[in-house]
């Protein structure tokens, strides 16, 4: 009997051959085979596509059981290259593949988590550790100022929000990193991630698999802040007056209260099989995850169902289809911002108790820092739920004629409905804050007949609904032929049309009926709209008519493309490929609607040459090079023309209700008719090699990516402003950015015996990012530091420097004595004898970089860069008999973050580094006194920029597989149980929550206002196949 080693299931159709004879057979449906008249001590060869061939010496007539190992190398032999596949050996592009096995080992909740550290050149940063939160995927650095996300296709279907995908459903992830992504033209500039989902196998019996895990999560990091006593001393010092007369010894550790141990559980069930002409697969899953902040208040639940079905209608006509349904529900808490629960937990007075003597949440008073509220009260009173229903489906037909031609047509459709339900009760958080920041006494005025006249204050319920639909239709013809046995030619010619549309509806209601302030009433029927009384059938006004607002908006974006690809190789040795694509996008105006994107690549399988073909050391060696231009159209719609979409309304002077307000029109963001495609020129040179019986594999790539006419919305002069909120600016082609780097990955795989497998891998990416020019000499800038302290535009795009570098003052210690300040003032005649305006002893000393004798704006300089110099991934795995172990880690070196999660006012709490503050001449020369009103302490300087290099152990897993003998009697093919730990430790000098976090914005993305840390999780799981 032949079985599959990983699943324990029988393998049908396996070739069994008596060595050096023509005698052979193949296994039946149950994996059984029978060979007659086999001499003792002869050798049989058992082979099957995708598995490592085994040779077995026959010693007796006893039945033999063979367990075939999957051959990772040959599985990935096929790479997906867009509108087709290719043998990896013949591919000329920089393509990386991540297979099922690798994904399973990581046990990710989201697909992105599986990519981090696994593939050189792919960097994944988390936007938040909260359940269901997204992550940013960056392929080979940040090459655009706008939207740096790669194009993500699931079975050819554009799915930008990967949260809808269950990682267990994925068969492989292919990442196109170089110009060969040019087949996707305008959408491929940031790289392309091609995901294929699992399918069944033809002629295989019905198989079931169940994967379950469950566990708990805790925070991976706490910020060290002052305790009650130290805080009291600090506040007294900083304010220069005695606010706290007694120094309390005990208080509240707010972070301990806010962070919770949170549960997580996941269950997957899938079925697959196939008939003679069909293959099918079906799966359902449910993930339920609480957040480490607020537990159930940030719960995320995702249910998915998917199917895949292939059917050979005729020998030359094949149908394939997939469908995915996802339903998710996410409870949202505020994050990474001023006023978010974590921000409050770090900044709130540690002497304050959580509850008062009546058991109610305490409210900070005027003694405590302003705008900081009890984070537990805040969490308890947040009711904000996002529900997503999403349907994705694909349908494809391939028709082959004259043997060499295949016509393919594929249709991909997505539909999503996103609902937001928010209730803001009236709560007094103290310090003048309630609901969305206001205390509003509810008062309702009625006339003599009891009819409603007006109301003021009260709670608020928001009900938003958005519908998104998109479809892609691809049609292409492939011609594949071989001439004279040595010349292999593949020609692809095709077209694609893409359309996406959205509709939004929003309603906001104020003041629940019957003066209710309860969330149950608010969410009773899940909608703001007036509801029907189920008993009487009459409309029950939930809100008064005039308290309902309506809104609607929409978009419609289309893309139309034609493409061709020619691939040629000679004896599989000399490889050549060229791509040309023409794209038309509705995002651009008549002047620049269409663009042409060419690319080409070559390869040489050196190991096929005679001089290497018999080498025992080098089993495989391929040299590759590619060059091409790819486009980017990821900008908001209609930026080439001015729309009348600005707010323009007036109070006419007699408004009693909202409908009395006069709505007008006003021009929106000024249109830029000359807006054109952003283009990337990408050069890639690399090689793939395998050594020592294919046990060591090595891939090295060097790349240079130059982005021309970078699309961006930089700040613009107020002179062209038309808006009330001048934060949206015209989109321009802003300049040029170059990313250069080297990717290196090496892996060692070996089976020492039937009982021992071992693998180890390492990858490294270096990245050098430089802005080489900026159109119009106006460096785009953005980013705000602190709260209302006048520090804007700290992150910049300036030629000669990296994209998004931090710009501020360099510090040089702390002013120790007044004499020191006086001496500096004496040389500052040009500034009325003031060296550093407002500076006093104990303040941070700034460097007069331009040497004009005093500190001014021109002394600011580059004080940090958010882009890492080097990123590295490590993974290791071994199996001894039925015990397996794997671990992987990721490191990022040279990335800086801005520490901005402190409120920076004397009555807010602060990190324990303040214990070393300056307290008199000769005390500290690095940490200032934090005295109230200090100018330099509140100014953006390198004091707030920290090296956020880190090394993180991302995953450790130990599994135990029960042998066939134990479980087959139970009707089970395979049973594995495992323990898994994620993010067990992070080594970093950074003092904030998460050195790997970013908002994803190229500029100002790593200004840390309290990023939600990644969770440390401990899981126990079971894989069961039967």
């Amino acid at each position: 009997t032949v079985i599959e080693a990983s699943s324990g299931q029988p393998l049908p159709g396996v070739n069994v051959l008596l060595k050096n004879t023509a005698k052979g057979t193949s296994t039946d449906f149950d994996g059984n085979f029978k060979l007659n008249e086999v001499p003792i001590n002869s050798v049989i060869v058992i082979s099957y596509i995708g598995f490592i061939t085994q040779e077995i010496t026959i010693k007796s007539s006893e039945p033999i059981n063979v367990s075939l190992q999957e051959d990772a190398e040959s599985l990935s032999e096929i790479v997906v290259i867009g509108y087709g596949t290719q043998k990896k050996k013949e591919s000329t592009g920089a393509v990386s593949v991540l297979d099922t096995e690798a994904i399973e080992k990581l046990n990710p909740q989201r697909v992105e988590q599986a990519l981090q550290g696994q593939i050189a050149g792919v960097n994944v940063t988390s936007t938040s550790g909260s359940p269901g939160a997204g992550a940013n995927i960056r392929i080979r650095g940040v090459s655009t100022n706008g939207d740096s996300r790669p194009l993500i296709l699931v079975d050819g279907n554009v799915i930008e929000d990967l949260s809808v995908l269950n990682p267990n459903d994925i068969k492989s992830i292919n990442v196109l990193k170089d110009a060969t992504a040019g087949i996707y033209g305008v959408r491929g500039a940031n790289g392309v991630v091609l995901i294929t989902t699992k399918t069944g196998r033809k002629a295989s019996e019905l198989k079931y698999s169940v994967d379950v895990y469950s566990g708990f999560q805790t925070t991976s990091q706490k910020i060290d802040v002052l305790g009650p006593r130290d805080y009291a001393i600090y506040v007294n010092d900083a304010l220069g007056e005695t606010v706290f007369f007694e120094y309390p010894q005990t208080g509240t550790d707010w972070q301990d209260e806010v962070f919770q141990t949170a549960a997580i559980s996941d269950i997957n069930f899938s079925v697959s099989g196939g008939g003679e002409k069909s293959a099918y697969s079906f799966g359902v899953s449910n993930l339920d995850q609480d957040g480490i902040v607020g537990a159930g208040k940030s719960n995320y639940r995702r249910s998915t169902a998917r199917f895949s079905y292939q059917y050979d209608i005729l020998d030359n006509l094949k149908l394939s289809s997939t469908g995915i349904y996802t339903n998710s529900k996410k409870n949202n808490l505020g994050e990474n911002g001023i006023g978010a629960p974590l921000y409050n937990a770090v900044n709130i007075n540690p002497n304050l108790a959580i509850f008062d003597i009546d058991g109610n949440f305490t409210s900070p008073t005027s003694v405590d820092a302003i705008e900081i509220v009890n984070p537990l009260a805040q969490i308890a009173n947040t009711h904000n739920i996002t529900t997503i229903d999403r349907y994705s489906a694909t349908l494809g037909l391939d028709y082959t004629f004259f043997e060499k031609f295949t016509v393919s047509s594929k249709l991909q459709i997505n539909y999503a409905n996103v609902l937001d339900d928010i209730f803001r009760p009236v709560i007094d958080f103290g310090n003048n804050f309630s609901k969305s920041g206001s205390v509003r006494p509810v008062s309702i005025e009625t006339d003599d007949n009891g009819q409603f006249v007006s109301s003021s204050g009260g709670n608020e319920i928001v009900d938003n609904s958005a519908f998104f639909t998109d479809y892609t239709f691809d049609g292409y013809i492939t011609y594949e032929d071989t001439f004279n046995e040595d010349h292999n030619l593949t020609v692809l010619l095709g077209g694609s049309a893409f359309r996406t549309r959205g509709r939004f509806y929003g309603q906001t209601g104020f003041v629940l009926a019957n003066d209710s302030n309860s969330v149950d009433d608010a969410f009773a029927d899940g909608s703001v709209a007036n509801k029907i009384d189920p008993v009487t059938g009459r409309l029950v006004p939930r809100f008064r008519e005039d308290q309902l607002e309506n809104g609607a908006d929409m978009f419609d974006v289309r893309l139309q493309s034609f493409f061709t690809r020619v691939q040629y190789n000679y004896k599989g040795k000399y490889l050549f490929s060229a791509v040309l694509r023409r794209d038309g996008s509705s995002r651009f105006g008549p002047n620049n609607k269409f663009g042409y994107f060419p690319s080409g690549s070559i390869g040489w399988n050196v190991s096929d040459e005679d001089f290497l073909s018999n080498s025992n050391t080098i089993n495989f060696l391929k040299l590759r090079a590619s060059y091409g231009i790819i486009g980017n159209d990821r900008i908001p719609d209609f930026r080439f023309i001015t729309l009348l979409d600005n707010e323009g309304s007036v109070a006419p002077g007699n408004a009693i209700t909202q409908t009395d307000i006069l709505l007008g029109v006003a021009p929106g963001v000024p249109g830029n008719p000359n807006l054109k495609w952003e283009e990337q020129e990408t050069l890639n040179v690399g090689f793939d090699a395998r050594f020592f019986d294919n046990k060591v594999s090595l891939t090295v790539d060097a790349f240079r990516k130059q982005t021309n006419d970078l699309l961006f919305d930089p700040q613009a002069s107020g002179l062209i402003n038309t808006s009330l909120s001048p934060t949206v600016f015209p989109t321009i082609n802003a300049g040029t950015v170059v990313n250069k780097g080297i990717e290196f990955s090496i892996a060692y795989n070996n089976s020492f015996s039937e009982d021992i497998d071992f693998n180890i891998g390492f990858n490294l990416t270096t990245l050098e990012n430089e802005v080489t020019s900026v159109n119009g000499n106006i460096p785009p800038t953005t980013g705000e530091f602190g709260v209302g302290i006048n520090q804007i535009n700290i992150s910049r795009m300036v030629p000669g420097f990296s994209l998004g570098h931090y710009f501020g003052y360099e510090t040089n210690g702390v002013y120790q004595t007044q004499a020191e300040i006086d001496a500096l003032n004496a040389n500052a005649a040009d500034n009325d004898g003031v060296f550093h305006t407002g500076a006093e002893v104990g303040d941070l000393k700034f460097v007069d970089r331009n040497g004009n004798g005093y500190i001014d704006e021109d002394d600011r300089t580059v004080i940090g860069e958010p882009i890492p110099d080097v990123t590295m991934g490590f993974n290791i795995g071994f199996r001894y008999k039925n015990i397996d172990f794997s671990a992987n880690a990721f490191a990022s070196i040279g990335n800086d973050m801005v520490r901005d999660y402190e409120r920076k006012i004397p009555t807010a709490n602060i990190g324990t580094f303040a214990l070393d503050r300056w307290q008199g001449t000769g005390t500290s020369n690095s940490t200032p006194s934090f005295a109230n009103g200090s100018v330099s302490t509140n100014t953006f300087s390198d004091f707030y920029v920290e090296d956020a290099s880190f090394l993180r152990l991302q995953n450790v897993q130990i599994g135990l597989t029960f042998g066939e003998k134990t479980v087959s009697s139970l009707g089970v093919d395979k049973l594995r149980i495992y323990l898994s730990g994620n993010n067990l430790f992070t080594i970093t000098d950074y003092s904030g929550y998460d050195p790997s976090a970013s908002t994803g914005s190229p500029l100002a993305g790593t200004i840390d206002k309290g990023f939600y840390p990644v969770a440390k999780s401990y899981l126990v799981g079971v894989n069961l196949n039967f």
């Binding site: 005027s366 820092a369 509003r440 021009p667 700040q715 402003n721």
Partner: protein
């Protein structure tokens, strides 16, 4: 290829002004920026010698306002100063969008719409000129005089635009807009937000005063006085002069309209239909009063302003909300002292509980800003007459005084000193807390003296004001100079 031709949603600017209603709609869009002038009022009140910035005592609360208060502001200051710059320019561009299309179709009533647009452009330009002096404008010669071009600033033009040659030249451009608007504006309007002939004339008179054209100022202001449309309110109406009950009354020549019936958010403060200036004037929490609501604790009245009023001057209590008794308790549970506390607040524009409206209530205070009051017109007319040798100055001054004291016992006498000085002193008291004082001091060259007086008499623990001649105008924020590549071209004289 037609597949990728998508009709833009919503309509584009090229395909508008096809019906009279579309002219109305675009004009409403242009009016909207008047509501954003709460920043202008706030900043100018803080700048004056009669008010202290205040705010949270334990942090640098609104650093730009603190700097403006002490006249320490530099081009590096953004916040309110930059808001004034960008929002008033938005008003200019929206108004020019209407004017650019003024000849697209013809219909009855169009002349009045265009006249209102010229009034608005004058209003926005005047705000810019008061703060920033000779601002950059696109100028052309039309009918023999220099006029602002009736086209919004097109992206790219900011890199070559120059400042107008002088502040006087800027005022002349404003004068021309108002002169064009006045003939086509009606004496009264159906809705209070719309500009009337009287509003345009009063604004023109004010611009003439700023431009030291006293004869012309007297002429046009006398027309407003003699129009019979306006009067000083007394009695109960006087008590309500600054409350919602007294809005758009007989004394109102022009008011910026605000309302609390629509919500607003911190994400776009200027999008509010309410008056955020009001929030700054309330005492800091906790402050519990049956009538007044708490606020941010800014705009504290100086003791010097309090002392300027006689005991029997009704304006003292109308102008000053006196919490010194409460402050003296030094009890943090009932009173939070703001920075440089004087215990006295701007009563004219205090937040009131009865006015609190839609969320966020801090942003949606409904009190209108009394942009031009008849009392202001009388005092401007008096000043113009006094400067140009007219005969009505004393009578106009006495009308204002008689209303303040309830009788004629305080009429002007020569013993007080010069009539002009008496008018200046009256403006200070009559218009305190309304945002006129700082600019009045600058245009009459009395700012240096006033701030020197303040420094000489201020409480010793308060910071001195470092007013210099460069502070006559505010610096254009450095970031705006950079964004227009105009660091050299526009500069900021003295900064």
């Amino acid at each position: 290829d037609d597949f990728v031709e998508v009709e833009p949603i919503p309509i584009t600017s090229d395909n508008f002004f096809n019906t009279p209603e579309e002219y109305d709609d675009a004009l409403i869009g242009a009016y909207d920026l008047l509501q954003a002038t709460f920043w202008n009022v706030l900043t100018s009140v803080v700048a004056s010698d009669d008010f202290i910035a205040g705010g949270d005592a334990s942090s640098i609360d609104q650093p730009t306002l603190q700097n403006v208060n002490l006249m320490d502001h530099t081009p590096a200051d953004n916040n309110q100063i930059r808001d004034i710059w960008t929002l008033m320019n938005a008003g200019m561009n929206r108004t020019n969008f209407v004017l650019q299309n003024k000849n697209k179709i013809e219909f009855d009533g169009k002349d009045e719409i265009i006249a209102q647009a010229y009034f608005l452009r004058a209003y926005y330009t005047f705000e810019l000129a008061k703060f920033f002096g000779n601002v950059p404008l696109k100028v052309e010669e039309r009918n023999g005089v220099n006029r602002i071009v009736d086209i919004p600033v097109i992206p790219g033009e900011q890199f070559s635009m120059d400042r107008t040659e002088s502040v006087a030249a800027t005022y002349e451009l404003i004068e021309e807009d108002l002169k064009e608007a006045i003939p086509d504006l009606p004496i009264t309007q159906d809705l209070p937000y719309k500009a009337t002939k009287g509003a345009a004339q009063a604004l023109l008179g004010k611009v003439y005063l700023y431009n030291n054209k006293f004869t012309q100022a007297a002429t046009v202001l006398n027309e407003v006085v003699n129009s019979g449309q306006y009067s000083l309110v007394t009695g109960e109406d006087y008590a309500n002069l600054f409350t919602t009950a007294g809005e758009n009354g007989p004394e109102s020549v022009y008011e910026v309209q605000y309302t609390n019936v629509e919500g607003a958010g911190w994400g776009c403060i200027a999008c509010s239909e309410g008056n955020y200036f009001i929030q700054f004037n309330g005492p800091r929490s906790p402050f519990n009063d049956p009538i007044y609501a708490s606020g941010w604790g800014f705009n504290l009245v100086t003791p010097q302003l309090y002392d300027a009023f006689d005991d029997d001057d009704m304006r003292r209590d109308l102008t000053i909300f006196d919490l010194r008794d409460l402050a003296a308790l030094e009890d943090n549970s009932v009173y939070t002292p703001p920075n440089e506390d004087t215990g006295m607040y701007n009563h004219k524009y205090m937040p009131r509980k009865a006015d609190l409206g839609e969320s966020v209530a801090q942003l949606t205070h409904p009190q209108n800003y009394r942009a031009i009051r008849f009392a202001d017109v009388l005092l401007m007319a008096a000043e113009a007459e006094a400067q140009s040798g007219g005969s009505n100055a004393e009578s106009y001054l006495n009308q204002v005084r008689a209303r303040a004291y309830g009788n004629n016992s305080h009429d002007y006498t020569a013993a007080e000193g010069s009539l002009l000085d008496a008018i200046y002193a009256e403006r200070r008291k009559e218009l305190a807390g309304e945002g006129h004082r700082f600019f009045d001091l600058v245009r009459t060259d009395r700012a240096q003296g006033a701030f020197d007086d303040y420094n000489a008499t201020k409480p010793t623990d308060f910071d001195p004001v470092t007013y210099e001649s460069k502070n006559r105008i505010f610096p254009i924020p450095l970031v705006e100079l950079e964004l227009a590549q105009a660091v050299e071209r526009w500069g900021n004289p003295g900064y």
